[in-house]
Amino acid sequence: MSKFEFPPSIGSRPVWGTLEPRVGQAHLFVADAQGAEAILDVATPELMAAAHIIFITRGTDYADKLRALNPSQFYEGPSYDAALSRIKRVLSDAKMGLQVYISGTESLMGQMTNEAAQAGVPFESIQTEHRGSTARRMQCVHCKGFTEEVETDPFVCCHCGLNLFVRDHYSRRLAAYQGVCVDAEDPGNVPAQKGIYE
């Protein structure tokens, strides 16, 4: 599957990389859905011998292919929230020299990067690669509610019901884009919905 080229954007929008094998005592891979393909691309027998793969399936069937890489540890779960307690445990047990590889959606990469950084993993040891859905994790600036998998602009906040414009402004701390009321100055005048990258 070809990778999506994000259009040039503003200074707060994160730039994702391409996974490459690094030297390390241990390797933690966290991926969701098509993010599995980035692991398949980078995996080597040496890397896998010290690898822990945490895979969030989100309805895809990459699990068997990943298992076939023979990682030292493998976990398969339905969602990031379901995997989070295991991720926290792995990070709290981590030693110096851990390499972290995160691939898949922006929502996963944003949240998982924070989790690793908060556990003390230096940014130089965290790699990311976008694969799969370009949907955004969004925070409504009004009610502060988060909505996952936002693919269209504008969209209706699933918490407070306001019509929100999907900004490119992004908070790494919140791992979210900002949604701002689109019809505050003319209630009801909401532009036609379109895909964020259309």
Binding site: S12, H142, R167, R172, V180, E185
Partner: protein
């Protein structure tokens, strides 16, 4: 001089008003008849007597009412004041800077008595007389940044300096021109300026960052920034935009002079001694169009600036829809005469409006 503090509101019935004194010292942000982004920073080392530049932290007739408005905002949304855990020392630095400056610059209003780390702070306009231990948070009712900025006009950001960048890691933000501390906290200088159009392409932010990283102790800087606000609403927050945005549509040719306000930020920059953080006070001044028009120079110039501003900027500053109405109103105060350079109104020497 003794300041008469106004009893006024910045919401609901909007009883905010500027005295003639306040109009005359209003920090008009245009030094010439056109505007484009620039860093336009200079040393913050005083200014003409009575101007907003004279003292380190300007106190004016709106002080008490602004602090009451801030308390209301914080009561409704405590997240307007946040400080990441490593920023407490910078908060103490800021508290010291403000207490020392105000007690020296306004001895009739503020007193600071220091005996080792036992400090007594007297704020007469707000009726505060507190004794506390410097650097001991448990002796203050709030964290040090929140404590002192509940008593200081303007927003405050505390910027941590590391990795050749500035990080907005603490702030008190209740009089903002439509940006969210809760969303932006933790961002670096380039990130939090991400949404600003044109300036990035012009290389402004790279140069501004370099300037700010090199500000030394004892040598503060300042600059003016501006936007437009309908009604004297201090708290134009994104959080409440769905509530106040509609007010922008209430302008008419009859009410624009009273309702439309030029909103000016006096931004200052101070290197802090213990934390090496940068204090970034952002002081908001509001003035209605009709009050600005009492100064012939400002009438002529504001018309020319608003008329000729690039569309991107008028859009970003949120008044593109109202611009035609503004130009109609302002054009009546522009007789085509030249204006003198600089921001000060100079009513004694500037010719009156030709009618």
């Amino acid at each position: 001089m003794t300041i008469q503090f106004n009893d006024e509101t910045f919401r609901d019935d909007y009883s905010f008003h500027n005295s003639e004194w306040a109009i005359r010292r209003f920090p008009f942000p245009f030094h010439e008849d056109s505007y484009m982004y620039s860093m336009n920073a200079e040393q913050h080392r005083g200014g003409p007597d009575g101007s907003v530049y004279e003292n380190r932290f300007d106190v004016d007739e709106h002080y008490v009412s602004e602090m009451q408005d801030r308390a209301k905002v914080l009561s409704e949304d405590p997240l307007r004041c946040q400080s990441l855990p490593h920023m407490t020392l910078a908060g103490w630095d800021l508290l010291e800077l403000i207490m020392v400056s105000k007690s020296e610059d306004y001895p009739d209003l503020f007193e600071l008595h220091r005996d080792g780390d036992q400090w007594r702070w007297v704020n007469k306009p707000l009726g505060i007389d507190d004794t506390f231990t410097f650097l001991d948070e448990s002796t203050l009712p709030y964290g040090p940044m929140e404590y002192i900025t509940r008593q200081s006009q303007g927003d405050f950001a505390l910027l941590d300096q590391r990795d050749e960048n500035l990080w907005m890691d603490a702030g008190m933000v209740t009089t903002q021109a439509d940006w969210s501390l809760d969303f932006n906290i933790g961002m670096n200088f380039i990130e939090w300026h991400g949404p600003v159009p044109l300036a990035n392409e012009m290389g402004i932010f790279k140069r501004a960052l370099k300037f700010l990283l090199n500000i030394p102790q004892g040598s503060p800087g300042r600059r003016l920034n501006w936007t437009m606000t309908v009604n004297p609403l201090l708290d134009t927050s994104p959080e409440n935009y769905h509530k106040w945005g509609i007010q922008k549509t209430t302008l008419t040719p009859e009410n624009i002079g009273a309702k439309q306000h030029l909103r000016v930020e006096l931004q200052t920059f101070y290197r802090l001694p213990r934390s090496n953080a940068l204090a970034f006070p952002i002081r908001c001044y509001l003035c209605s169009f009709q009050d600005l028009m009492t100064m012939p120079k400002w009438g002529r110039r504001l018309h020319r600036v608003v008329r000729d501003l690039p569309v991107e900027l008028a859009t970003y500053k949120g008044f593109i829809d109202n611009r035609p109405l503004m130009i109609d109103y302002l054009s009546k105060f522009d007789d085509g005469l030249p204006t003198s350079p600089g921001i000060f109104p100079e009513p004694e020497t500037e010719p009156p409006l030709k009618t």
